[in-house]
Symmetry: C2
Subunit: 436 residues, 2 copies
Amino acid sequence: MEKKIQPKTLPGFMELLPNEQILFNKMKETIKKSYEKYGFLPLNTPIIEDASVLLAKAGGETEKQIYRFNKGENDLALRFDLTVPLSKYVTEYYDKLSFPFKRYQIGKVYRGEKPQRGRYREFYQCDIDTIGDGELSIMNDAEIPAVIYNTFKELGFDDFTICINNRKILNGLFASLGLENKSTEILRIIDKIEKIGKEETKKELLEYCEEKQADTIMKFILIEGNNDNKVQELEKLGIENPVFAEGLEELKQVIKFIEIFGVPDEFYKIDLTIARGLDYYTGTVYETFLNKYKKMGSVCSGGRYDNLTEYYTERKMPGVGISIGLTRLFFQLMDNNIISAEGQSISDALVISMTDNYDMCVEVAAKLRESGINVQVNLENQKIAKKFKYANNLNVKYVFIIGEDEIKNNVVALKNMETGEQQTLKIEEAISLIKS
Amino acid sequence: MEKKIQPKTLPGFMELLPNEQILFNKMKETIKKSYEKYGFLPLNTPIIEDASVLLAKAGGETEKQIYRFNKGENDLALRFDLTVPLSKYVTEYYDKLSFPFKRYQIGKVYRGEKPQRGRYREFYQCDIDTIGDGELSIMNDAEIPAVIYNTFKELGFDDFTICINNRKILNGLFASLGLENKSTEILRIIDKIEKIGKEETKKELLEYCEEKQADTIMKFILIEGNNDNKVQELEKLGIENPVFAEGLEELKQVIKFIEIFGVPDEFYKIDLTIARGLDYYTGTVYETFLNKYKKMGSVCSGGRYDNLTEYYTERKMPGVGISIGLTRLFFQLMDNNIISAEGQSISDALVISMTDNYDMCVEVAAKLRESGINVQVNLENQKIAKKFKYANNLNVKYVFIIGEDEIKNNVVALKNMETGEQQTLKIEEAISLIKS
């Protein structure tokens, strides 16, 4: 006997059961529809690219994690995000695109991280970006939170907060204090304040700056109140730095337009402690938290960047965008029992036969499909109990039962699997009932 | 000045412009919906698998074409079809699945072929398969053409033919003639008959068999008439071989049920010359041709196989399925001007401002979206002509123009870009008009 190969899926690769996949696909579809509602155009770039193109900018972690290999003489790599491919795309097809260019892409990306619970090596990113040719109005930075709001509402969430900040405010503050060279360290400390508390934060700050500087930073990050209050307090700080002033002005514009874009007050707030890494974003930055599940971390992040395409062209292409890491989000939501794949189905009905004659079963299924109803017909010679078990596993709401009487009288027995109720109907009546 | 990297997409990788991508996505969505209508469940397996799993069966071309590489200590490969991953999946999750297991998968697969016009190294396959546990009713073989019919109708085609054959008929015929060892060569000759003609076919056959054998084969492949005639003629051949008899009986069942499944006569036919390769399919086989574009080759093919999972388990899992190579199909349809991406759009409208005040633009866009209308709002400080050009490039049907008068009177100027007609309306009136 031949030796069999062990069929195993690699660690770090999500593979779902059908009911879970149905739920996952619904979420993906919801995100897609929300992105399209705001006019973002679909793109679908290759998963494999020339390694030199993908690694134009990369370094550090990215280089270590990337899947890179040779095929013939080609040095290839799998994309590790959707931003670098966008950057390539915008440069390559510049002449054929209209700017501002708004695109979404929902696709798998690859990072050879250490596999661990909830961390995947293959995962979906769902990105939108608005790219300007030379310049891009700050109002676009206010549209992004509107898309986040609409998307998460459509996904069924009603208690989340989009946190907004502007990197220029942080950079300007540090510059005004003469601390621009220590911004990395300071931001890392600031980022921990919720965990370590005010006192410890100040103590750690003092390792990098003077008492007076630390006081200003503490005063800055402890600014409270609603968005208007925060803006007023920022103005009161009296920081005379052009970058700071620019950032504050941008933030004011963003906050003004978010409201006009229709995002209710309680879904967004200025959060002066978020920074989103250091070398990429240059203006507005976003993080989004499910308020009851803050431990999950930000479920949708992004921001404004000065130049998307700097590694490929001299042309300046500013942009603003966000990403939802859907695979990780799905895992976390399932893991926290916030969503459940139980009862998920793509079929409305299953048709089963009580006899050896399947003709009418197939006819009924064909009629149901013509009426737009998703239906499966069981064509196997199985015991009735097994057929009903099958219906249960499929999570269909209705089972059509075709026996001798039904064939003779040209009717169907329709069983509602949720209520257990069964009735004999003409096929047209059954269709109306299901569609109603 | 830094050296710039040339942003180039690899040869053999399809990358579309947004309007093309919109059209491609519509086709993909249509196929998905059609598959779901018949109760096929979605799967989404990883693109990367352990090389030993993917190559359990492979050999020859597959091994040469596969993208295979190491990451750390792992020997990995990219899937080259969706059947091997299905085979793995069904074995791995056997205990959690219900049989017959009907699944669809629409995803990218990878083959490092020589790039040539219309041949891609990364391409979408859109597969359905019905897998039985131990056995699987022949009626499933009749459902598959119903899915093909529905799918291509929904894709907008109305002149195509699903060609159906049964490998057992061919195998039985060859066995009855004592030619089972020459079946490969004979099938290759049969396959060419449309190109080379009857005489040349017979001449080539004679290189492998006796005059009398060649006559029987010629008589067989030249059987004409409608499906019933063909079945009768096959019976009249008087071939006494149990495999032939089994194949003929299966074919009769399939033809009978295709009709009950609702596929009109003119969309399918028995074609005794199709065989679909030699080592995989064991019963029913399908090919589908667009009648006006036969040169494109089969646009949807597949068949019945005895055992999906033989490399992974002792359990016997027969199945039947088909695949649409969407990337290649899309290329061919575009290339033959059968489809066009011109005018494709995801947005119904664009909102533009005639002034520096964008508040009302953003408000109007928000209201349109609340009504379910996809809309983009132009937020850039551009000349009016440029904004209209942008609208044209987006292929939106409507442009909302917001100027001083509109702001003062709280109305919108709505321009129909197809007719050029422009009217001043209340926002609610404009929404009704677009939605009607």
